[in-house]
């Protein structure tokens, strides 16, 4: 019994190491979009989803006058949200594969927020969550919300082109 109690005391003392929270802030004010395309292997006929580099002529964000991005080629977009608003709309002007024309797509998101105090040294942060697509020009089969929380290094929406 004495050994058990000594063991328990050791556990209690050891647990104190976990009282100090880590200063890791994962909150972000950006929505991350990943662009994908389905490719079929000509030999095996197996379909696979791969990253798709898209040429964006312009990217506009509601609440920002002017272009947020211009002449950018990427498979991933991190677009800002306005913390003062409950919704945000992105307008994506992308070049067609042939390069002959420019296509406009739009996607409007809504989101909620919550406040979390991380630690006195870190501070308090607003976390955005409950991300929903309110309106979009993409087909319902073209996009998938993969994470409803806006966190650093986390993809929120996958769009298949």
């Amino acid at each position: 019994m004495t050994r058990f109690l000594l063991f328990l005391m050791t556990i209690l003392v050891g647990a104190s190491c976990f009282n100090e929270p880590d200063c890791i802030v994962t909150a972000t004010t950006a929505i991350k979009l990943d662009f994908k395309q389905t490719k079929t292997n000509s030999v095996t006929l197996i379909k696979s989803v791969v990253d798709s580099a898209v040429i964006f002529k312009y990217v506009k964000v509601s609440g920002i006058s002017g272009d947020y991005l211009k002449d950018t080629t990427t498979a991933t977009l991190s677009l800002p949200i306005n913390p003062k608003e409950k919704t945000i709309t992105y307008y994506l002007f992308r070049q067609s594969e042939s390069g002959a024309s420019t296509r406009l797509d739009s996607i409007k998101f809504s989101f909620a927020e919550e406040t979390r105090v991380i630690a006195p040294s870190c501070g308090a942060y607003t976390f955005f969550l409950d991300l929903k697509v309110v309106q979009t020009s993409f087909n319902q089969t073209q996009y998938k919300v993969t994470s409803t929380r806006l966190l650093k290094n986390t993809t929120n929406v996958q769009i298949s082109l």
Binding site: A15, P21, P80, C122
Partner: protein, 228 residues
């Protein structure tokens, strides 16, 4: 070697025969020398010195009163306290205040100690009623959206948790005891909050941290119910 072996076997045989012939010893009658009385003999009233010392700092105000009474080797224990913090954050300020109540039982493992010192193990169930608020500012990823200031509060929160406790009570002089209690707190739950997630629950600590560690350094005065 064989003759020694024969001698040893012979001695064993003789001893075995003798043992079989001896009458069995009379059964020992267990005499109960310790009378197990489950009638409380006194009430100990105490306070947490660490809470009072911490209250010297502007970031914490609090006190705690402890009660326990004996039921043979078991002690029924009740703690009641107040806890208020005012913490400067990296980007703002957090405040909370509230009362808490803990109740449970301890088992004393030093029952035969003549000084009635205690080394105990116990459990507690804690409940807390509190409010909290935070003011802070965050800068948006896109600088054009500027820095946003927030003021969030939770007005009427209630929470509960469970503790495993262990510690010591040492009799200093007649009727006066000193002790320490270590607490391993776990399974916290809070209800009644809005956009601000509960951070610091009085009596428990950081809600998102489980298990959470607590420590009390206590002074006790014992009021006997009866005199021998």
């Amino acid at each position: 070697m064989c003759r020694y072996l024969f001698s040893i076997l012979a001695i064993c045989w003789v001893l075995q025969v003798q043992a079989q012939e001896e009458p069995p010893p009379p059964k020992k009658v267990r005499i109960d020398t310790v009378h197990k009385s489950y009638v409380p003999t006194g009430l100990r009233i105490g306070t947490d010195v660490l809470a009072l010392i911490r209250s010297k700092d502007n970031s914490f105000k609090g006190w705690e009163i402890n009660f326990d009474t004996d039921l043979h080797r078991y002690f029924v224990s009740v703690d009641y306290g107040y806890w208020a913090t005012n913490q400067l954050l990296g980007n703002g300020r957090y405040t909370n205040s509230g009362h808490y109540l803990r109740f449970g039982a301890d088992v004393n493992f030093l029952l035969k100690d003549p000084e009635k010192n205690m080394f105990f193990l116990g459990m507690r169930y804690g409940i807390s009623s509190f409010n909290e608020s935070v003011q802070y500012s965050n800068t948006a990823m896109y600088s054009g959206f500027g820095t946003n200031s927030y003021s969030r509060s939770n007005g009427n929160l209630s929470g509960h948790w469970i503790e495993i406790t262990t510690g010591l009570r040492v009799k200093i002089v007649s009727g006066f005891w000193m002790g320490c209690t270590a607490r391993l707190k776990f399974a916290p739950a809070v209800s009644g909050f809005g956009q601000l997630l509960p951070y610091d629950m009085p009596g428990y600590g950081i809600v998102e941290e489980a298990p959470y560690w607590g420590f009390n350094y206590q002074l006790f005065w014992r009021l006997p119910f009866k005199t021998k």
